[in-house]
Amino acid sequence: MSLDQNLRPQLAPGCRLGENQGLKVLLMPERALRLSGPSLEIVTRCDGKHSIAQLVSELQKLYSKAQPKKVEDDILGYLQLLHDQRALDFAP
């Protein structure tokens, strides 16, 4: 993964958090992604304020029983996936 840790992920225009039948979802053009657990923790922090480094650090504390390196890799992989689906922009 070659994501700069200072970048600040932000949901792209046309993408926002929503709720459906009591569950959190990421709403996007023509699709929706159910969010729960770690995916919800990540997406709620994609607010253009948290840097990737901060996001990783907060989730490492939240999931302190998991290996920190594994948490980081999972987050970077998920951010890249959302970015490639055009659900996420990375602000400098």
Binding site: P13, G14, C15, E19, V25, L27, P29, A32, R86
Partner: protein, 368 residues
């Protein structure tokens, strides 16, 4: 006949049949709803609330041209208040910058702008209206507004040589998503099919083009490509399965499982002015008719793919085989596949793009 009905995920609201464009592949029925018979604003508000309660997440505001409804902004506000994600599917006219600001302020999530091509003259010929230049203006206005943008290019034999130029329009815009979708042969497109079907060579070249474009633009623009199903080996999972994910409401309030379902003889459609969305979704005859698998005949009935493509499209089966319950004839396993092959065999080898457009297009003759 039934089985438990899943929740619908999307509601397609055809707000009106009025439209300044008259596309040769228009999917609206030949018999259009008059303005006086269109559902009232308050009825749509109720439909949106009922849809959200049923589990719908995505609302497509379409038509006709939804911008011709002067109450569009209040519809967007009501849909957002009901917790729906709001898509506007539009030709981009009639629209000015002030109204665009109002739509965005009302809470519009996603602006889906249709294109008939990349070149002004041929694009305008397809829709019989001077629309192309206005679409390019709308694209410029969108750059300074915060709203999701998808461009939708409708492809066919006469504009498949413009893919480079279409992609250039997309790359110069703020769109994060572009759909390149071949015409599907229903409604007016069925009438004009012989002039719209691409050649096999054109199709192969376009597949190669989009593969390269998707690789090059990964992370910048999400490109989706929909091929004409006549060339496919297996049918499309039409609407994600009959009465399974999508509900469509016509301008006068009839609830249908898809745009074209009106072609199927004997199907009775309920109206949202008389029944709730839940009653219609769960127990109306039209939504039950081809839901699940009980209606299937062979080869669908015992096919391993029946939970993937749901037997394909019921309307296409009706139009080409005379029976809505038969296997979609585009399926290579269908006993009627030879009908599709005969249609493809009749396509001229040369796409004849360079020729002037034929004067023989069949157009809608509405008074707009």
């Amino acid at each position: 006949m039934t089985g438990p009905s899943p929740n619908p995920l999307a509601l397609i609201a055809e707000l009106t049949h009025r439209c300044p464009l008259h596309c040769v592949y228009c999917s609206n029925p030949a018999e259009l709803t008059a303005r006086a018979d269109e559902l009232r604003t308050e009825t749509w508000f109720r439909v949106f609330r009922e849809a959200a309660t049923l589990g719908v997440m995505q609302l497509d505001l379409t038509g006709g041209e939804p911008l011709t409804r002067t109450d569009l902004c209040s519809m967007i506000e009501a849909a957002r208040a009901a917790n729906l994600y709001v898509n506007l599917i539009t030709s981009g006219l009639p629209l000015d910058e002030r109204r665009l600001d109002e739509l965005v302020a009302a809470g519009l999530d996603h602006f889906q702008l249709s294109f008939q091509g990349a070149r002004e003259e041929s694009a305008n010929e397809i829709c019989s209206t001077k629309a192309h230049a206005q679409k390019l203006r709308v694209l410029e206005w969108l750059k300074s507004r915060r709203v999701g943008v998808t461009l939708n290019f409708v492809l066919h034999r006469k504009n498949l040589d413009q893919l480079d130029e279409m992609l250039a329009i997309a790359e110069n815009s703020c769109a994060s998503r572009v759909e390149f979708a071949h015409v599907q042969y229903y409604g007016w497109a069925f009438a004009n099919r012989e002039q719209l079907l691409p050649t096999r060579d054109q199709l192969a070249q376009s597949l190669e083009f989009f593969k390269r474009a998707q690789e090059r633009l990964l992370g910048k623009i999400r490109i989706e490509y929909v091929v004409p199903d006549y060339y496919a080996k297996f049918p499309k999972p039409c609407m994600g399965g009959w009465g399974r994910k999508v509900m469509l409401i016509t301008p006068s309030g009839y609830a249908m499982p898809c745009h074209a379902a009106g072609v199927i003889p004997g199907l009775q459609f309920e109206n949202v002015q008389e029944k709730s969305l839940r009653e219609i979704w769960e127990s109306s005859e039209a939504f039950q008719k081809f839901r699940g698998e009980d209606w299937m005949q062979e080869p669908c009935k015992s096919c391993d793919r029946r939970a993937q493509d749901f037997g394909g499209c019921r309307c296409q089966a009706l139009m080409l085989t005379g029976s809505a319950a038969s296997t979609d004839p585009v399926c290579s396993l269908s006993p009627n596949r030879s009908k599709i092959d005969a249609i493809l065999a009749a396509i001229p080898e040369s796409p004849q793009i360079a020729e002037p457009f034929p004067a023989s297009w069949l157009y809608r003759r509405n008074s707009a």
